[in-house]
């Protein structure tokens, strides 16, 4: 029975680890998608470091367990048990050293990555985009020609007439040229400053390729800044349970070249 346990455990460990090395299964990738943001590199690096460090611990401890159980299976009657050389001390020391060093490294490096994303503010000249989340859609707002966002009036929100943000163009000059769209279009290699807010419950803004996830909390205006480095079309999905349509709540993010973006913006302004 012990041999079986050891063998099964080692097979499980090998198979689990193998998926990590061969994660592409004919069009189905069980791995992170391409990284399309400036800070994403740091996140990926941190993740790989953790993967190797903790993967080593995983394989080592599972194999040791399997091995010891295997050994323990065919010992003779009247076997006199042996104590692990050194007793508990090497366990404690190795745990503190191995794990201690790992977590020290991880938290120092990891904190830097985190700080790079969240402790900095957007540079002047970043493109501001206002994001409104609601059951079950995202809407994006650009300031328009005047570069100013109109004020938000929750009481004026009316999905039927397309006033998703609760703008008041009649009385509010800044709101008149605001561009509201359902797909977020941004220029590549330019910093974007999002202001996230929700009109009803908590939603979340998640773009895999940007390595970004941020809850959108009603009552708060949460800033989030990033720079996309690759053009393409990515999905923005909601990751915070927000009600029955949660699984369908998504939008697209289109990263265009500066020229394409300018043209798009001009078309939108003209349409206002």
């Amino acid at each position: 029975m012990g041999k079986a346990f050891g063998a099964v455990l080692i097979i499980i460990t090998v198979v689990s680890t193998a998926v990590f090395f061969f994660h592409d299964f004919g069009g189905m990738s069980l791995w992170l998608p391409v990284d399309a943001s400036e800070h994403g590199h740091g996140v990926d690096h941190q993740l790989m470091e953790t993967m190797y460090g903790s993967g080593f611990l995983f394989v080592l401890s599972q194999i040791l367990l399997g091995l010891f159980v295997w050994q323990a299976s065919d010992r003779p009657q009247g076997w006199k048990y042996r104590i692990f050389p050194g007793g508990a001390k090497p366990m404690v020391i190795s745990a503190i050293l191995l794990v201690g060093i790992e977590i020290l490294t991880l938290s120092f490096v990891g904190s830097k990555v985190w700080a790079g994303i969240y402790f900095t503010s957007a540079k002047p000249g970043a493109l501001p985009i206002d994001v409104q989340a609601g059951q079950f859609a995202f809407y994006f707002r650009y300031a328009g020609v005047d570069g100013k966002f109109g004020a938000l009036h929750p009481d004026k929100i009316d999905e039927g007439s397309g006033n998703f943000f609760g703008l008041d163009p009649r009385n509010d000059e800044a709101a008149r040229d605001d561009i509201v769209v359902a797909t977020m279009v941004i220029p590549v290699n330019r910093e974007i400053l999002l202001t996230l807010h929700s009109k009803d419950v908590i939603h979340s803004f998640y773009v895999r390729e940007l390595r970004l996830q941020q809850d959108i909390v009603p009552g708060l205006m949460i800033p989030l800044h990033f720079t996309a480095t690759k053009t393409g079309r990515y999905e923005i999905v909601c990751t915070q349970l927000c009600g029955l349509g949660h699984y369908q709540m998504k939008a697209y993010l289109e990263v265009k070249t500066q020229e394409e973006f300018d043209k798009w913006l001009k078309d939108q302004e003209a349409a206002q």
Partner: protein
């Protein structure tokens, strides 16, 4: 003393004996029984959920009868999926993972292991169970109210959970019942924790010094202390949530919300406040589930290794350290919640530090397996399986403890895999180990080992097939709590979900082998002797099952450390705690 303790006397009527019993053993069995009912419901819910995730248009025969609105034409609606998910989480976390390893086994064996005739407050003990049972009924009632069960998940994040029906079906009466049920549950747990603490400290028999208490007793004791403080916060939090729902307060609901084009009447509350209160309870709750499991496994393992564990004091120290640290880390559930990003670092560091005592404990188990001649039985197999899944589940904690990685992995299946392995499967393995090990004591009959081993192998391989792929789904960005995977990047991953579903169906079916074994053994199993495993702690110094006052009027005196196995020169290679012989150190 024992007469005094049982001044209430052995009851004779059926109701006083089996229903409103003050006997801790009956109460322990009641908790375990309630846990089994809850786990069967919870598992069937997970089957339905898994089927829906694999084949989202599949008609499941009979589902319409369960909920005509939730499953018209037997096909589950997305909102019903969320309702089932909420009920699955709530049932499993509260009524299984908290009830069985802690309240169930704890009630049955804590007094016996310290040599007491009963709990310190037997009537309060009975009350805790019946309060728990009431909480269970209130929760189950949510299935049958208009709108069905709540859909805001077991974390019930406000404002979704606080603004009422307009935010979704199930957010009406169902969510209110949820809040009430959890509040009632908290009261029961608080009463239970008081009782455990008083029993452990005050009712130990002569010679049972704190240092001689078994690991399981220590774990139940430490868990009680954690529970005493954690449930004390969830209780007011749930009451405030219910007030928001029914009395018009705005604790957790900010102003200016527009739901279905209607302005909500609330103003000025904070959704993050609920998250802080919930996770201040929620993280310790994880340890309320896993510490008793660790204690149970550490208690059972030596009996089958036939040697004491390495560093018993260190292991208890680890449990205490984990319990202490559990109060400083709740914010790691909230890295992306919009709380101050500086605090993310503050919460990340103690979270990573918890891995140190957890790793020490794991290495102590692995090191103890070295050089043993293991007696393989279902109990020991589940203990070894526990170590393996505890490692697998613990390792992924390294990722999630770091805010920079969590920003990618948060709310993906990576998290689902992590907590299912480390608190779900690990604790359930400990429960299985506990039942295979202690059932002979509890009902006086042995379980069938062959069926048990089939159950073990199917379960062990099964859980890896279910949860290992989920890590990779998470790494691919597969979002959790989705009723179907319609996004462009999620659709190609559906075959993996189908594989998981099949694995879950098989693994779930294997649990019926266990249930069959349980029922069969209860009535037909071979009679158990007083000490079938040749174990040393006090529960094996009495008959199987123990008499009403546990030791038949005897007052046991403890002379030994709890795990003297493989002792040279002793007649049976082991020395009971009650044995007065002199033992030399190995």
């Amino acid at each position: 003393m024992s007469e005094a303790a049982h001044q209430h006397g052995e009851p004779t009527g059926f109701i006083r004996k089996y229903i409103f019993s003050v006997d801790h053993k009956v109460i322990g069995l009641q908790y375990i029984g309630l846990g089994i009912v809850a786990v069967v419901i919870g598992m069937i819910l997970s089957w339905l959920m898994r089927l829906h995730l694999g084949w989202s248009t599949l008609a499941i025969p009979g589902l319409e009868k369960l909920s005509p609105t939730g499953a018209p034409a037997n096909v589950m609606t997305p909102e019903y999926y969320l309702s089932l998910m909420t009920m699955h989480g709530t049932l499993m976390v509260f009524f299984v993972l908290t009830n069985v390893p802690f309240a169930g086994f704890g009630n049955y064996f804590l007094p016996i292991q310290v040599g007491a005739p009963d709990m310190a407050f037997p009537r309060m003990n009975m009350m805790s169970f019946w309060v728990t049972f009431t909480a269970f009924l209130v929760l189950i009632a949510a299935f049958f109210v208009p709108g069905g069960p709540p859909l805001s998940g077991w974390t019930a994040y406000a404002p979704l959970s606080a603004v009422g029906e307009s935010s979704g079906p199930g957010e009406g009466l169902g969510q209110t019942l949820w809040g009430l049920s959890i509040a009632i549950f908290c009261v029961a747990q608080l009463l239970g924790a008081l009782n455990f603490i008083a029993t452990t400290l005050d009712l130990r028999t002569k010679g049972m010094s704190l240092a001689r208490m078994p690991f399981s007793t220590w774990a139940w004791f430490i868990t009680s202390v954690i529970g005493l403080l954690a449930f004390a916060v969830l209780l007011p939090a749930c009451i405030l949530l219910v007030l928001d729902r029914v009395a018009g307060t705005s604790f957790f609901v900010p102003g200016g919300l527009v739901i279905n084009d209607r302005m909500q009447p609330h103003t000025g509350g904070s959704p993050l406040l609920w998250q802080h209160l919930f996770w201040f309870f929620g993280h310790p709750e994880v340890y309320i589930a896993i510490l008793p499991a660790i204690g149970i496994v550490s208690h059972i393992l030596p009996a089958f290794l036939r040697k004491p564990l390495l560093g018993p004091r260190v292991l208890i120290g680890c449990l205490a350290a984990i319990g202490f640290l559990s109060y400083m880390v709740w914010g790691h559930h909230m890295f992306v919640s919009g709380m101050n990003p500086f605090s993310a670092i503050l919460f990340s560091v103690p979270t990573l530090v918890i891995t140190i005592p957890a790793t020490i404990a794991t290495l102590l188990w692995i090191g103890s397996v070295y050089g043993a001649r293991i007696r393989f039985s279902c109990a020991s197999l589940f203990c070894l399986g526990f170590i393996s899944v505890f490692i697998s589940g613990g390792i992924s904690g390294f990722f999630l403890a770091q805010p920079s990685i969590d920003t990618y992995l948060h709310a993906t299946y990576f998290v689902v895999a992590h907590f299912h392995f480390v608190m779900g499967v690990a604790a359930i393995f400990a429960m299985f180990a506990g039942i295979y090990f202690w059932l002979p004591k509890m009902v006086g009959r042995m379980m069938n080992e062959t069926l048990g081993k089939i159950h073990f192998w199917l379960t062990f391989v099964g859980v890896y097939c279910i949860f290992m792929p989920m890590h990779y789904l998470g790494l691919a960005g597969n979002v959790r709590r989705y009723a179907a995977f319609t996004d462009d990047f999620l659709a190609p991953l559906v075959p993996v979900h189908q594989f998981i579903t099949i694995a879950a169906l098989i693994t779930g079916a294997a649990q019926f082998i266990f249930l069959y074994n349980l029922v069969w053994s209860r009535f037909r199993g071979p009679k158990a002797t007083e000490n079938p495993w040749q174990a040393t702690s006090l529960e094996w110094s009495t008959t199987s099952p123990p008499p009403f006052d546990n030791f038949g009027g005897r007052q046991l005196v403890v002379h030994q450390e709890p795990y003297l196995y493989g002792v040279e020169g002793s007649a049976g290679d082991y020395v009971m705690q009650t044995s007065p012989e002199t033992v030399e150190a190995h």
